[in-house]
Symmetry: C2
Subunit: 143 residues, 2 copies
């Protein structure tokens, strides 16, 4: 992802200054192969620089409101975040009930999903979050 998105430009398009913390948040999420918790992002940031958690929470909220990030709610108490650029469309998440690890699954078009669900006539679906809870192949082997 990070190799495909121009983060300074992305920020400029949103009228935001390319500050070190903002860029670092995007880079960390760009390099991750899974959705990260705010705490994980904060930890990564602190390896490089001194950052306050409030700053990170505010950046994450702001980015989510602008559609730069997607916030996903898994079973854990903490929300997870991932990039929401065109190279990374919405997709289901798989969470293993043994090791708690999160995997991103292939995207399913919203229209097909909405047809499958047969949502109430007149309602409009803007987003469909799908969370699969189960057991990953690694944990299943160990049983």
């Amino acid at each position: 992802m990070s190799d495909r998105c121009n983060f300074p430009q992305l920020l400029a398009l949103n009228g935001l200054r390319p500050t070190p913390v903002r860029l670092a948040v995007l880079e960390i999420l760009g390099l991750a192969d899974r959705a990260l918790r705010a705490g994980e992002i904060l930890e990564s940031l602190r390896i490089r620089r001194r950052v306050n958690k409030v700053t990170v929470y505010r950046i994450l909220d702001d980015f989510t409101a602008r559609g730069i990030l997607r916030r996903i709610n898994l079973d854990d108490r903490a929300a997870h975040y991932e990039l929401a650029c065109e190279h990374h469309p919405p997709h289901p998440h798989f969470q293993c009930l043994s090791c708690r690890e999160v995997q991103c699954l292939d995207p399913v078009p919203l229209s097909r999903m909405w047809a499958e669900i047969q949502g109430p006539l007149g309602n409009r679906a803007d987003r469909i979050d799908i969370r699969v809870a189960g057991h990953c192949h690694k944990c299943r082997e160990q049983e």
Copy 2:
């Protein structure tokens, strides 16, 4: 639901005593037409009797672990709970982004959903939570 489930029997099947708090939790959820937050359940309980929140959290955790209840995570921070008896199978939830109201949608079989998603080979899906965010017909009319 409540007219179809025998709560004392349900508890007995799970080796649990039919205590007033446990029964009241089930009755409250049985009468609700939507998933409730722990706080809402606690509030309802306190109309009838003096109950400690820890008791309620422990009962909700225990019931969820035993499969008597389902815990669902919507966009709000607090988890929501609903009865998980055979008369009330898992189903997608629709949450309106304008009025925040939650609607229960018709159930979709797990196997069909898992096939649709094409989850990774070797992984086993135990549960699929689907949350649709959008705009309900009532709010769309007002636009």
